[in-house]
């Protein structure tokens, strides 16, 4: 056991700065991806709720396709495939784009479920009390929707965080790619990949705990 832990004492000082920088990149990638997912998810929701059959059809097709295709295929298409037709992204942009294209579908589904959970009377009451439809949405409906979907949104963020590891396969310098470089340099793959795993855990676990805390009162 001490033999196994030995490298952490020996190289910990060298590893930590590398991993800390990679953690920052992973966090940046995940936050950017999540932010864009919410934006795209809301756009998708507008399509789903619009009066136009074309937009609704597009949204349904989009959600089905994205749910059925692995993120890795989407990332490879964006990063390696699109240059073939003259569109080039840098790796980080491609990763953010790929993650958010995938997770937008989940976000829009969450918002849809959240909207469904609000009783119709809320809207009617607000309108009867003299709110304009825009005010009604902003001050009455939206705060309630956010309360309902906050916990599943955090769960979605944690899955996005985990999936951001795939960006290493399109050369984004995040935790896993840094770990691979370190593993070849130090030749201690077991200790290094466990350290990488714990780095993800340090970012993701607090969010998982938070989401359960938030979900608990609703379940009661």
């Amino acid at each position: 056991m001490t033999g196994f832990l030995q490298p952490y004492f020996e190289y910990g000082g060298e590893w930590w700065p590398l991993l800390a920088e990679a953690m920052l990149n992973t966090a940046l990638l995940s936050v950017a991806g999540f932010f864009l997912s919410v934006v795209l998810g809301l756009a998708l929701l507008l399509c789903q709720m619009s009066g136009s059959a074309v937009l609704r059809g597009f949204a349904a097709l989009y959600v089905t396709t994205v749910r059925g295709v692995p993120l890795l295929a989407i990332l490879f298409l964006l990063y390696f495939g699109l240059p073939g037709v003259g569109i080039t992204f840098n790796a980080f942009t491609a990763a953010v784009l790929g993650l958010s294209l995938c997770f937008a579908a989940q976000v829009s589904e969450l918002f849809r479920a959240g909207l469904k959970a609000i009783p119709k009377g809320q809207r009617e009451a607000a309108l009867a009390a003299g709110f304009t439809p825009a005010q009604c949405f902003t001050f009455v409906i939206l705060p309630q929707v956010v309360r309902v979907i906050l916990s599943p949104m955090i769960v979605t963020f944690v899955s996005l965080l985990k999936d951001s590891s795939l960006a290493s396969l399109i050369t984004v310098n995040e935790l896993v790619l840094t770990g691979r470089a370190m593993a070849t340099e130090y030749f201690l793959p077991l200790q290094i990949y466990i350290a990488v795993g714990l780095c993800y855990f340090m970012i993701g676990w607090p969010f998982s705990v938070l989401s359960r805390r938030l979900a608990a009162p609703a379940a009661r």
Partner: protein
């Protein structure tokens, strides 16, 4: 624009990985379901603190760390200890162990949603606690868990693409190796995406049916 003959060649090359994709998906599904169900039974129906803590820690560690990292630990990490797994074995084991953490939570939610009266009724008619669990609680919990398990299965099919990173020869692995020998990058990855879509569409349809069916039962 690639012609039909190129497309046929690409498709043929990718289909070569279909067997391994299905093998990895089915085997890890079996491990995930069996182990996850066992864990959920221990977590819900025993009172050993240490076992509860161990299962909670297991679930948290597997659910908050990316599959790719787990696969690297199993494939590259264990090899450095002299424990060499083949890439397919590591893929099945890795996805199966992660799946167990996921299905454990799904099964537990199923057990928890059962009314208390079910246990009481089972014991009242003279069944032992074990019989009550096996023949009264478990079948109901599994039914409730079905839509969740279906969603897990859909996700699992897609997640098998990740095992290409440890060189398991499945669809995405063949796609990546074909790309290095030809310039049809867009065509190859788009075809691979289509192939995965073909695999997951029927599963997604099953989930939709299950959700509609069990949604009705609940409401």
């Amino acid at each position: 624009m690639p012609d039909f003959e190129t497309f046929r060649l690409v498709l043929e090359g990718l289909v070569a990985g279909l067997g391994v994709t299905v093998l990895v998906a089915l085997s890890s599904l079996a491990i995930g379901l069996a182990l996850g169900f066992a864990l959920s039974l221990v977590r819900e129906f025993t009172r050993t603190r240490a076992a509860h803590f161990a299962i909670d820690a297991y679930v948290e560690l597997l659910r908050n760390i990316p599959a790719l990292t787990h696969l690297f630990i199993l494939y590259f990490g264990l090899a450095s200890l002299g424990l060499r797994l083949s890439s397919i074995a590591a893929a099945i084991l890795g996805l199966g162990l992660i799946g167990a953490a996921v299905t454990c939570d799904i099964f537990r939610a199923g057990f928890r949603s059962l009314p208390k009266g079910q246990v009481e009724a089972g014991l009242a008619v003279g069944l032992t606690p074990r019989q009550t669990i096996i023949s009264i609680l478990a079948p109901q919990a599994m039914r409730i868990a079905l839509p969740g398990l279906g969603n897990y299965a859909v996700q699992l099919v897609k997640d098998t693409s990740v095992v290409s990173a440890i060189a398991a020869p499945e669809i995405m692995f063949f796609a990546r190796s074909m790309v290095t020998s030809s310039f049809q990058t867009t065509l190859i990855y788009a075809t691979a995406a289509g192939l995965y879509l073909l695999l997951s569409l029927p599963l997604m349809q099953c989930v939709r049916v299950l959700e509609a069916h069990y949604g009705k039962l609940k409401g």
